[in-house]
Symmetry: C2
Subunit: 470 residues, 2 copies
Amino acid sequence: MSSQAKFKKDKEIIAEYETQVKEIRTQLVEQFKCLEQQSESRLQLLQDLQEFFRRKAEIELEYSRNLEKLAERFSSKIRSSREHHQFKKDQHLLSPVNCWYLVLTQTRRESRDHATLNDIFMNNVIVRLSQISEDVIRLFKKSKEIGLQMHEELLKVTNELYTVMKTYHMYHAESISAESKLKEAEKQEEKQFNKAGDISVNLLRHEDRPQRRSSVKKIEKMKEKRQAKYSENKLKCTKARNDYLLNLAATNAAVSKYYIHDVSDLIDCCDLGFHASLARTFRTYLSAEYNLETSRHEGLDIIENAVDNLDARSDKHTVMDMCNQVFCPPLKFDYQPHMGDEVCQVSAQQPVQTELLMRYHQLQSRLATLKIENEEVRKTLDATMQTLQDMLTVEDFDVSDAFQHSRSTESIKSAASETYMSKINIAKRRANQQETEMFYFTKFKEYLNGSNLITKLQAKHDLLKQTLGE
Amino acid sequence: MSSQAKFKKDKEIIAEYETQVKEIRTQLVEQFKCLEQQSESRLQLLQDLQEFFRRKAEIELEYSRNLEKLAERFSSKIRSSREHHQFKKDQHLLSPVNCWYLVLTQTRRESRDHATLNDIFMNNVIVRLSQISEDVIRLFKKSKEIGLQMHEELLKVTNELYTVMKTYHMYHAESISAESKLKEAEKQEEKQFNKAGDISVNLLRHEDRPQRRSSVKKIEKMKEKRQAKYSENKLKCTKARNDYLLNLAATNAAVSKYYIHDVSDLIDCCDLGFHASLARTFRTYLSAEYNLETSRHEGLDIIENAVDNLDARSDKHTVMDMCNQVFCPPLKFDYQPHMGDEVCQVSAQQPVQTELLMRYHQLQSRLATLKIENEEVRKTLDATMQTLQDMLTVEDFDVSDAFQHSRSTESIKSAASETYMSKINIAKRRANQQETEMFYFTKFKEYLNGSNLITKLQAKHDLLKQTLGE
């Protein structure tokens, strides 16, 4: 009994083997489930992406149409205004109007680009995604087919192993049985032999005992037969064991190959091209978005260039050129001699000479004083203008802070609450600016009055100087 | 009469002067009109810009909200899917899912950025534009005030010139009249003198003629009086002419200064800060748009990086790790000795030795043949895979052609009609791809069968080799 407890029973071995095979079978089923789930996840992802890009395409189209409408609203206004107002025809020559027209051009460009985005999403990205879906389904089907074949192969191998194991068991059992039968025969022979010993002692006594001799022969013959049977069974068992061992090695190698290589290859079959095709789809989307951005950037650069060229002086000259009749200086007032008066110059003969000379010196000193005074006014004027210019050209237009994404959404401040555009700051700055402006105008009037007076006196002074110098 | 025709009459001169002054007046009025029109054009431009940015802000907000809704729709789907499906929890570890999540992140980023654009347009750009409108109105008012003063000044100067010219005319007329009266007296004196010649001839005859002597004296006195009057008038005329000439110079200088400098300064007053403030407004708009673009670009770069990292191999390992119980190789099948069979190795004693040796050699040559055959299959398989890979990784995702703005709008082709995405091309490429794929799978099955057989035979071969080698 103790030796029997040491050895597994046939049934135990078979049961263990069947359990082990069943576990493998379960794993294979689970593997298919896993691949199926993976494919389903991919199909879901592809469907989500298609839905996403379909809706995004709609959003882009709506955005594009809105921008187009917006640009058209103002463009048609400009067209009709040009038709009805002659003077508006050359408005685009003015730098602010040029900027405005370029903003409209940019709006149309953005509109077209977002329409292109819609087109690419609808007719390229989505088409690709649906093709990838088809591919995933087709490849999963084909891979499953191959997988099933692999699984059949595995089960065939394990079944073979089961068969050779049973054969080994059978031959071994037969071998054991033949051995025990042989051993029994040997025991009988030994018993006979012991009897024969007694016989040989008594040989002389009982020379002839034919029945005893025939029984010895019979035993020997049986032993030989059993020996042959045992040898035959032992050979069969050895062959069966060898077969079992060789199949065991083959089965383990096949199972190991499946788990280490074939499952991986099977997944590769399912994956075939999925990542590459998806990457190309994403790259199409990226190419569209990057190109939209490049186009947008080009357009913005054109506007920026126009803004750099905003030029008050050049615009002033353009306006004065456009209305040149209004701004061209009139003819000089000519000296009109009265009734044939032949004198046409200031006369500096006596008796007016002394008086003119006095007047000349008075003018000279008056001018000197006035010029000094007006120069002071001009200096104040220039300084005030500089202050105004500093206010007017303050670089308060950088809104990059509003586009920081590293902060949490909550802490993104409204652009309006930024330093420069807070209501208090605006009010302060404007009050300050207008105060300076008021002061500038006061000083400007003062300067204008001074320079007007100087101009007139200077003209008289110069004429007198010329006259008196002669 | 001929000399009279040569000189302009007073009235003519006055009329001409008045015409000239009237023309200047008309020009001044027209200049105001021009400035007013300029200001009105600017106000119209500013109003158009405000309307434009208000509407663009609305469009941006709508776009932003649509994008937000779009992202949220899929994000909430992902959240709920994560809660309900345990296995979905680690989906983001898979590279395609990672790309998809980043596309959603980018959508939210775009949504936020376009909302920021709305904010900046509404609370910064439009505020600036309305302030510039206020400035234009205020500055035009102030400039007009100064302009009116300039015009008054000009008219004052021309009035003065008119006055001194009239004075000159008057004194010159008086001078002429005094001169002619003097000349008349001189004629009478000469007549008297001629009579006196007769007198001297007849002196002896008529020594005493008292009434004749008194008339000579009378004439001389008159002549002296007229001489004095003439001199006085001539001086007055000279002074008046000098005044006229000096005022003429002053007036011409003042008019010239006005046209050459003051009008320009007046326009500068109207313009004060207009271009600078408008430039800052445009730069705010540009800063917003450029920053939007930078942010968009950063987001796209993150996606591109994720697309670069789309990796089938790594995903396969992730999936196998996630389901590691399903993919881990099972325990090896152990040799189960039957009923205490102590032999646990392949037995290569005679009589099986010869047979095993034969079997071994058979296996060896069978394996050699199989390996050569399967190697050929493998080569075909690899070449087919390469062809498939080339198809799957073709760089067909560049859509930059669709964003060319140099062409006219009409000639911009739909992205769908481009080489790669035309329906005929797609169909051809897909047919070609699927044919190659089918061939690949056929070859793969063949290879798999071959390698399975080789694995099993190799295991047996190796075991026999080991056994026979001992």
